[in-house]
Amino acid sequence: MDATVAVSESGVNQLVQDLLASAHFSKSDSASWGPFTVSYSVSASVSGGTVELVDTPVQLIRVHDFNVSASAGVSLSFDLNNILPQICIPPVQICIPTPFGDICTPQFCISWPSITVPLTIPLSLNISADFGIQVRDGGSTWDIVLLIFPFSLVIDPTPTINAILTAVENAVDGVLDGIPLIGPLIADLVNLVIGALQSVISLIASAIDALIHEVILLIDIFSPTIPVTLLSFDKTEVMIPASGPGNPDVDLTLASLTAQIAQHELVAETNFA
């Protein structure tokens, strides 16, 4: 081999961190479940992780504990008129004596408001993954790319569910508290809303978590279909640049490149044309 380039485990770690610095994706979606319309947007970024260069039994780059930091911005809207029964106040008819006779005042039937509950749900996951390495012809470069092995990504929906239920409960309670003469009813009315929400909350949380999953997989390093370039070698390197007439560039052309992992190092070897 005409030339060799090797990168240590800590060097590869640094290269992976450089890759992750620009790894950020976001996506939005919305859907309705019964009376609840939810729009949600997820953004995720990746950082950290510790690289291990494995050469037996197979050659791979193992990254322990990437930290995926995701944030779901959720806006949940619903019209309380679609959930709560009609309630008219005061509960007991009020009649007052007048020169006409006793005038009984009409009841006021509450038109429930629509509520929009915004909340942000932060999420932090640790993912470990293995990557195979491959040399690809990049046209003007030889690229050493990472190909992720299938990995499992399990997102616990519990924090999402709890955050939404708490936020809705607080919002409904706050709104109903502003309506007089229903104080004794508020707890039951809130429970009606929470009850309606609970019948679909798992579906809502699943949809949000599915979007988080999708966004994470959009990040190139986690994509099973998009190889991520770890190192890119120029096929033609200008060793001595041109310096006037009669002194053109002096190049070296890499005719081929191989890559392997040996003794905890990533080693690339090349032959010049």
Binding site: D2, V5, A6, V7, E237
Partner: protein, 211 residues
């Protein structure tokens, strides 16, 4: 530790690779190896210009040319033969080259032996030297080679003069062949020299960091 030896990165060029590099220099810039007076084509893009030599007492300028043979480099351990007086040690390279020198002999011109007016002779040159790194700016380094000892055989009493001139000529050529150390990683990442260059295992090796 492997190749990187405690550093983030390692890069090495094998002696075969260096000789391909020298070949490419010779192809791109032939005037580095070919010199002549104007009368013999000097001053063209492929041939560097030399001034004529004044022949003492003759009042004429001597037209001549020097063609240096494409050098071949051998990194320690030794693979190419060396003449007595030169040994290749650790962290050293040897360089094998030659020169073909021709002069236009005026005597032969006068007797109209135009076809045979060019009189030539060849010498073989061997040298041994060490690798160098020269700072360029605050972070870059130029990697090069410099000849420390030289041997020319079969030039009789002119040996010392020939070796002196040949050493200067070779080192002037090697100065033109220096390249920035980061070129050894072919653009794959930022490379900052921390150790080397060192010649061993038929390679010129450098170690460094990524930032």
């Amino acid at each position: 530790m492997g190749l990187t030896n405690g550093f983030a990165a390692f890069a090495a060029i094998d002696e075969t690779g260096i000789n391909k590099f020298i070949r490419n220099v010779a192809l791109a810039r032939p005037h580095y190896l070919h010199f002549a007076t104007a009368g013999l084509g000097g001053g063209s893009p492929a041939i560097s210009l030399l001034p004529p030599l004044t022949v003492p007492g003759a009042g004429i300028g001597l037209q001549y040319e020097i063609a240096i043979e494409q050098p071949v480099v051998d990194f320690f351990p030794q693979n190419l033969p060396l003449p007595g007086g030169l040994t290749l040690g650790a962290n050293q390279f040897s360089i094998t080259t030659g020169a073909r020198i021709c002069v236009v002999c005026s005597d032969r011109l006068k007797s109209d032996q135009r076809g045979g007016a060019l009189v030539c002779g060849s010498i073989k040159v061997w040298g041994v030297g060490h690798p160098t790194s020269t700072p360029v700016g605050s972070t870059d380094k130029l990697i090069g080679l410099v000849v420390d000892a030289i041997v020319i055989k079969d030039v009789g009493g002119l040996e010392a003069i020939a070796e002196c001139v040949a050493k200067d000529t070779l080192n002037a050529l090697l100065l033109q062949l220096r390249y920035l150390v980061k070129k050894q990683v072919f653009g794959a990442f930022s490379f900052f020299l921390a150790a080397g260059p060192t010649i061993a295992d038929n390679e010129i090796k450098v170690w460094g960091n990524l930032s």
